[in-house]
Symmetry: D2
Subunit: 331 residues, 4 copies
């Protein structure tokens, strides 16, 4: 399948590399990026570089589109894909605001068929999938609570306190909705004493509490300057037991009075398999003439609404209710 | 050292057994319990059974007292020990109310020397001690957050929702104060959808959030009908890393497509070493003519004030500030 | 790249599936198997089914060949690939006897370029690769010993005692040579009291001791009817520490007084990533016009010589020296 | 119970400390050591220091004796205890030679009652006990194999190659006999390339293979200069699963891209609980008027016979049969 990739920064160039060399049945035929487009195209043998991303979307040699450009371009580009009737895998967030996400949900609903998938790649991580399978099989009875942590080694330089929610916790928001199979109804952000090792003014870490429609509680520690590595934790507590992501471990070293394993330095390593599976599953479904089966526009919309409620809670210091637009097509 | 034990139920009879057979330099010379006193005395070769616990305290053959009778007797008995000038190890809670605890603190302060120790045995658990040592040595920099869980397999029949705080979470309250070396300033109890497998009306699990004076946040899951076993979790997150209690594991079994370890069924097994060390350290210090070095009356008082704030939060659904009496002698 | 697959049983059909749907740049254009050829071709959209595997090898629409037919066909088919000048990935063993493997080494050497790769897929397993990287970086100093175990849940019905070496331990033989970077010089097979739960007459488990040229010792437990699952263990002991494969674990379940993880039931699950990486790396190298970079004909030969020595030791009960033909082209 | 301790070096002074301060019902009333006797007595309030260890044994204020002096004194001292009719806990080895051990077995048998216990403290380690319990309950069916490792951080300066067996592996010899409940019939010592980081001439590590009477095989890695710490490994493989000592872990640290736990530096830490339990169980049994229940003189004798066979195998490079004297009283 011939794919065009818009945005070839860190995330987009990874997609180009994976689609070119590790995904069966895929080929990148065009890219568009004002900075690195030419270089990435050369590195991976991509034939066409479009200056205008809309031209890429209209390019007849592009059957499906991956969007990995800055968030504020997502709405326009995704709507253009819908207009062209081309499947689009859009990196999170689906759009810069929940309202904009809602417009995409409506536009796709008006088309009458699924074209949009949102890049919540964790749904393709083997460990999360095993956890989800256990939940669905009733291994621990009805879930009541979940505890999560999302830690990066060092905060990106451009991060502000709200981005810890919109760019980091947004993954947990999607995971909660997916694992528990219901919407989040309320968000509360608690701000502990911040780390002195990160940029002054950055509220890091944060402790976010989500309440689902049925009253389940999920606490999420977000700590983007944890210092020691990239670490994703998740334990779901049910009525008869718990399921927890086992910390990744390939090799145990016994050296110098320590027995230990290496911690992944970044998300690219931790979720390497998930990224390939996300793309492979997407390509395989589309190549067979089907619709995408991954996270839908509604998932992107719901995640954005919840994230905005959490940002509001961070600002005000009080719990904020999540208001999903009843009029939008449900999942 | 000749010791008298008041109350020989589950906890008190354990103390009699340990003091009689596993603590160097200790001997139980008298017990008092209206129900099981005679039986426990016979089982462990205790010479005297007092019908009146106050008589036990006054007994010249009793050098130090362990109190493990019901909570509402603690104040009177502890004060009696102070009056007799005898060291007393009182099971938690120090007294039935924070106010009563305060009176004990004042009475001991008036005496001018330490006689009271409160039975927060976790401070003697080897794993907690290693965690505390790591914190004190700065292994993870300044602590910012902590995540804890306290799970029992099955809720005791007499438990109500408040007791999940006063009898269960009270251990975490002491651990937080001890590990972080500061007071708790605020408590918030969140009530998720309760388990359908426990007694109707019991709010179980609970998610309790504590904020310390310096703004650190600690979340505690309390779940007394977890179904699967007794499980104590604790991870402290610092500015440059985290320290976490490793789940207890003695033998790994590979059987029937599973690799696993047994989970402790109850607190007696999980904290067996802690109970012995608590008593041994207490006896050794007293036998050397010193004062007790374990949790003080103030610790019992502070834990009770925090627990009462949490119970109030459970009732009202809002955060409750912890008000420690400024006039009382500080630790 | 257009690939023909000879033999579409358990292993060969897996290769067809992976090459068709999970390997970038690969396509299966022909298969040959007297039993399942038609069915597998239909399932994966393979255009041609050859009754004669030699016809598949000569098929102009086949650029490279995978051999997964019975071991006694490997020599003839691999030599035919060499004659056609086509790259061939041959499942282990490279041929039915060490002598036959030697003829393949010689034939390829006569050609003057590498065409043969042997299917020792463990060299592509991420955990083994991390272990090898650690060794090569000197993390534990010079290796002195290694301990390995290879356990299957249930012995295949056709297994005899020698096959536990030639089909099972042969993987460890290759791993030892690859990890330690030297040849094995001696093999000793010890036969403990066999399991009563497997077929009478089968010597299972076996304890195999290998000595390398430089005097390192490796013990390998082979137990193909372990009862509980598929489990691969490997610890290398060096002068300043050890490196060990961490047991695979995705999700930890706390249920019914146990904390555990699932054990893989079979090699397909345990080495799923390794199989894909083996094929992807092979296809990518060939598609770029290069030679295969994986295990060479010499590796297949050396593994067979060692396996034959071990089988001889199993028969005689004494250590047997490994005699590699000095005249054959070295690695 | 009033105890005399002969030999107050590293091991003996530990016994004095534990008996004085951590064992219920015990008191050290006399010690004897030409070097450190006075100092240890002063440190622990021991009343009498005997210049002559035989005088200590005859001392009326000594009810039971602990022997922790050099191995070549054990026979004479233990026999003296038997002559005095006093219970004796003798550190391993029971005597300097198997023949001497045999004389102790005979002397005790002639007395007609048990007085001797040998200091194989691992039988009191909680993890080994749980493993033994699992075996006895049939958790893994009939045992077939066991894999063990015994690693010290740094070899003691006075160690020679034979002492790696007689002082180190001797613990595994006892553990094998105890866990499997049968005698060892044959020993083979394999000598890999030795570590370059230890004393020249020291054969370290060694790989020892034991075969039991019923044909079970046990491999033991002994590596006294492992470099990284004190590490004891043991996995028993049965017909339907395996049981393995879980590596000790109290606190998991996530720091600097590593997730790890501390490895015990030495045996005192690893077996701290075992030493206390060994002494407590011994004292409790004797104080109740009973016989010692721990490892018997026969166990000390059998361990020495096996160790001597292993030393012979180390010397000759061939398997050596274990010949237990049929005439000696069985266990």
């Amino acid at each position: 399948m011939d794919i065009g990739v818009i945005g070839t920064g860190l995330m987009g160039s990874t997609h180009v590399r994976l689609l070119s060399s590790f995904v069966s049945g895929a080929r990148v035929t065009a890219v568009s990026d004002p900075v690195s487009g030419e270089e990435v195209a050369a590195a991976h043998g991509v034939g066409t570089v479009h200056a205008d991303p809309l031209a890429l979307i209209r390019d007849a040699a592009v059957v499906a589109v991956v969007i990995a450009s800055p968030a504020d371009t997502h709405e326009e580009l995704t709507l253009a894909c819908l207009q062209e009737g081309k499947p689009v895998l859009c990196e999170k967030p689906l759009a810069a605001t929940a309202e904009a996400c809602g417009r995409i949900v409506e536009a796709e609903a008006a088309l009458g068929r699924r074209l949009v998938q949102v890049g919540f790649m964790r749904r393709y991580d083997p460990a999360y999938l095993e956890l989800k399978r256990g939940l669905d099989e009733g291994a621990i009875g009805a879930p009541l609570l979940a505890h999560m942590a999302h830690r990066n080694a060092v905060a990106p330089g451009h991060f502000d306190s709200a981005m810890i929610i919109t760019d980091t916790v947004v993954h947990e928001i999607d995971v909660i909705r997916w694992l528990l199979g219901e919407e989040i109804a309320r968000a509360t952000v608690l701000a502990p004493r911040p780390s002195s090792r990160t940029r002054p003014g950055l509220q890091d870490p944060q402790l976010v509490i989500f309440e689902t429609e049925s009253g389940r509680l999920v606490d999420v520690e977000a700590f983007v300057s944890s210092g020691y590595g990239y670490d994703i934790r998740c334990e779901v507590v049910g009525e008869s037991g718990t399921l927890e992501l086992a910390p990744p471990a390939a090799v145990t070293a016994r050296i110098a009075a320590q027995r230990g394993v290496a911690v992944e330095p970044n998300f690219q390593g931790r979720f390497a398999t998930a990224y390939v599976q996300e793309l492979q599953t997407w390509v395989t479904a589309l190549a067979a003439g089907g619709e995408p089966t991954g996270p839908a526009a509604w998932d992107g919309y719901a995640a954005s609404v919840v994230a905005e409620a959490a940002v509001e809670s961070l600002r005000t210091g009080t719990p904020v209710a999540v208001e999903l637009a009843a009029g939008l097509a449900a999942r």
